[in-house]
Symmetry: C2
Subunit: 492 residues, 2 copies
């Protein structure tokens, strides 16, 4: 396990990159922009998947799987969607390699194995899925279709960062089909609410629910709902999006149905997704200069026990106590690992568990054997206390809930103190540059102003909050009239 | 729901294809050779995944994720592996599309966005993984590495069939690294044993454990362990493989470690996988002319309740009873669905549940309300009985276990009666053509004989069984001496 991290104050970006690698979450691979998700990072992702999957199923969704490849002719069918993704597509053009006659032992692409039609590696699956739904939908009786897919997608990004922006990433994408506009809108909002619930209850990340402006919308969407979070460096991060697609894809793929009045109509659609990017949000919201801080609800191990002993006899006794504690915790639904490795000293183990953000650490030493106690340390506050074994399990169960709540409260305090109402452009620029965070300001509703502000400040409109109140004002840049405030920020 | 299936006797292959589509398991997509796995099929796959994942974790393995793409230079590093897969590789050559100047609204591959090095879409991940392991392994303390990955892979097959052979398929691939040959061999055997256990206890499919001959080995393996199953048409199906890779990949990627004597050595490797092909095995082992038959341990719903009623009052009463039954079953760990759809008549529901292989069907009608009974029907035997509600849950719990056992026993009887010991080549050919199944025969151990037999009969050596007893004999084709029998069959 490597030594100190760069501090956040020193270089936030470097701190993040080091943390991801040193905490064994992920690393860059030999493939440009693609990451390897290491077992510890993947275990956290699996916890996220399990909770999200449960929430999707509880709201009536089923999983399915659609092809990785999208034939070019389908890809280009929905024009805006195609335009939005065309510049970052990995394209399969051949289906065979052959021995390179000029280079013994090497292979080359077989020029005789060129595909008649190129295949795009899915950057998102609306095209292939709506082409499939066409065969599944004839009447209103076939609706709604509520399907989710867990998959890998590829977007050829030029600047990549582990978890936050990678050429290949893992995600889930929901694709639903409905008989009415109203039902589709309700679905899109519902799934955005579910993302918010997941972020707040499991990731301990407060999020703002809102809709995107036209220029920030998903390519092909009529409305994009989103949840926006704030990182410790004052930059915003879009943590999930849910799109009301109108009838755009139904029209592009000619998906009509007979409604309950016997008339033909195009089907209404939504799509929604979160990705391994959430890992980046999780890391950047809670972690500190000593490493990862994990909310108990997503920690692969919520508790770790480290033994300290001078002889085998003590180790035997400690092991016995540790096993009893683990059983008791298991019965309470708390996961606990006994770190009995003989290849590492206690100090090295402490450093590793701290770096990897295990919420609670139990140390059992010779004195504890005498007193029937343990030392219990919190990762988030770095505080320790001596606890009697007789009350340990209950203490831990309660403490994990406390930690989960306090992590959320801390993130919420930070976020709330970083939403600044601003009414003039000089202050607007100053707040973005010094205080950072979200700037709540009036905007005249035009893409031109939005673009100008982005050029001048690098800030974008993160969202128009769902709960924005009506309020007469003047656009912070143009001075034109506006009826509500929107949230600007520099963003990941 | 469509009407009758083609019968197995009439056209086994057509029966299979129809069943997969009509039972809503999967269908062909717009992408050549790639399938869409529909929600019902995917729900079965999820059950398989959950059990396998549990078994992998219980034996100390962790999940991780490696890139979809393999740079050509890494792909070709292990020569035999590269040679084995080169002819069926999807190759990414470009990373961008652009507007086609000759075709408004259409896109074309941007010739300026050609990759410097082509990327192979992984047909299997040894290359990218061993290139990564090189950075993880310095000393024996870093070993073993026991990692599994759930992923999609692509092999450009010319003749594809839903689940059995598709260009893209879903699988898990374990990749482990060890300090000693012995440990790696033990791991490869252990994982083959786990596959056998899964096939027998969950899929209710009896399998024969064995090793492959050199010509049937995985490209790059030193030894390939496998489990072989027998389908109802007498053809064998390889259901899982586990490879001892020796030091081949460690040498190709220069992965050395310092052993506990301080000496440098190459690392020993295994890899092992099962795929959505298992779905094909499951379908073909148990199903009948009326549709799918599912072993209870893998059925998305083990029980379905269909109400029959003449008025709303009856429906209310039936619904109440159904809810009580569902709660009672849930407490016993039995999954049960109440099919209260008003869009379908009972007859249509019966046909659908039969086609989709729900193990048990409960019908509650007006008479049952009076008598406090239900009609309970088994999908596998198509038998029915009247059961008192007071004993229903217990009856069902026991019956599901019975069905699981009987499906296995039936498949085992069929399989055992289709292993024929043969000592001369005329009988060999005749058995393969008429009785079908496995032929247990002596083989002289040469690839030449194996190839000749394949050319003459289309049968391959499925495996040399782990429990093959020593027995002096003569090769069924060449007459040369042999010390044990091997299993031949025509195979999927």
């Amino acid at each position: 396990m490597s030594k100190n991290l760069t501090s956040r104050a020193q270089d936030y970006s470097k701190w993040y990159n080091e943390l991801v690698v040193k905490a064994d979450l992920a690393e860059n691979s030999a493939v440009r922009g693609c990451m390897v998700i290491k077992p510890y990072g993947y275990a956290i992702w699996e916890k996220m998947q399990a909770e999200l999957d449960r929430m999707f199923k509880e709201t009536g969704h089923q999983n399915a799987y659609f092809p990785l490849f999208v034939p070019k002719s389908l890809f280009e069918a929905e024009e805006k969607n195609a335009e939005g993704f065309a510049k970052e597509c990995a394209v399969v053009t051949h289906y065979r390699l052959e021995n390179d006659p000029d280079n013994e032992g090497k292979l080359r692409v077989d020029p005789n194995a060129k595909l008649e039609e190129e295949l795009v590696v899915r950057p998102t699956s609306e095209a292939i899925i709506w082409n499939t739904y066409k065969g599944w939908i004839q009447s209103y009786r076939d609706l709604p279709i509520l399907i989710n897919q867990w998959a890998n997608v590829v977007r050829w990004e030029m600047r990549t960062r582990l978890f936050l922006r990678t050429a290949e990433f893992l995600w889930q994408e929901g694709h639903t089909a409905h008989a009415t506009k109203k039902e589709a809108l309700t679905e899109a909002e519902l799934m955005n609410d579910i993302y918010a619930e997941f972020a707040e209850n499991f990731m301990a990340i407060p999020v703002i629910k809102g809709v995107k402006t036209e220029s920030e919308r998903f390519a092909g969407a009529v409305e994009t709902y989103c949840i926006e979070a704030l990182m410790q460096d004052g930059k915003a991060l879009q943590a999930g999006t849910s799109h009301f697609l109108g009838q755009n894809f139904a029209k592009a793929f000619d998906v009509k149905f007979t409604n309950n009045e016997g008339k033909l109509d195009y089907v209404w659609a939504t799509s929604w997704g979160v990705s391994t990017r959430l890992m980046g949000a999780l890391i950047m919201t809670h972690s500190d200069d000593k490493g990862l801080v994990l909310p108990p609800n997503l920690a692969p191990s919520q508790v770790v026990i480290v033994p300290i002993y001078k002889n085998d006899d003590q180790l035997v006794q400690i092991t016995e106590k540790a096993q009893a504690i683990i059983s008791e915790l298991k019965a309470l639904g708390v996961s606990c690992k006994f770190d009995s490795r003989t290849t590492h000293r206690p100090g090295a183990k402490f450093a590793q568990h701290e770096l990897q953000g295990v919420p609670l650490r139990i140390v059992i030493g010779p004195k504890d054997l005498e007193n029937n106690t343990v030392e219990l340390a919190r990762r988030d506050t770095l505080t320790k206390e001596i606890v009697e074994i007789s009350v340990l399990a209950g203490t831990i169960e309660a403490l994990l809930k406390t930690i989960q709540k306090e992590l959320y409260a801390k993130a919420q305090d930070f976020r709330d103190s970083h939403i600044t109402e601003v009414d003039d452009f000089e202050t607007f620029k100053k707040v973005l540059d010094t205080k950072t965070g979200f700037v709540s300001a009036h905007w005249d509703g035009t893409a031109a102003t939005e673009l100008k502000i982005k050029e001048l400040t690098k800030a974008t409109i993160r969202c128009i909050p769902m709960d924005a109140k009506s309020e007469d004002g003047q656009c912070v840049y143009s001075g034109n009239p506006s009826t509500k405030r929107v949230l600007f920020a520099k963003a990941y």
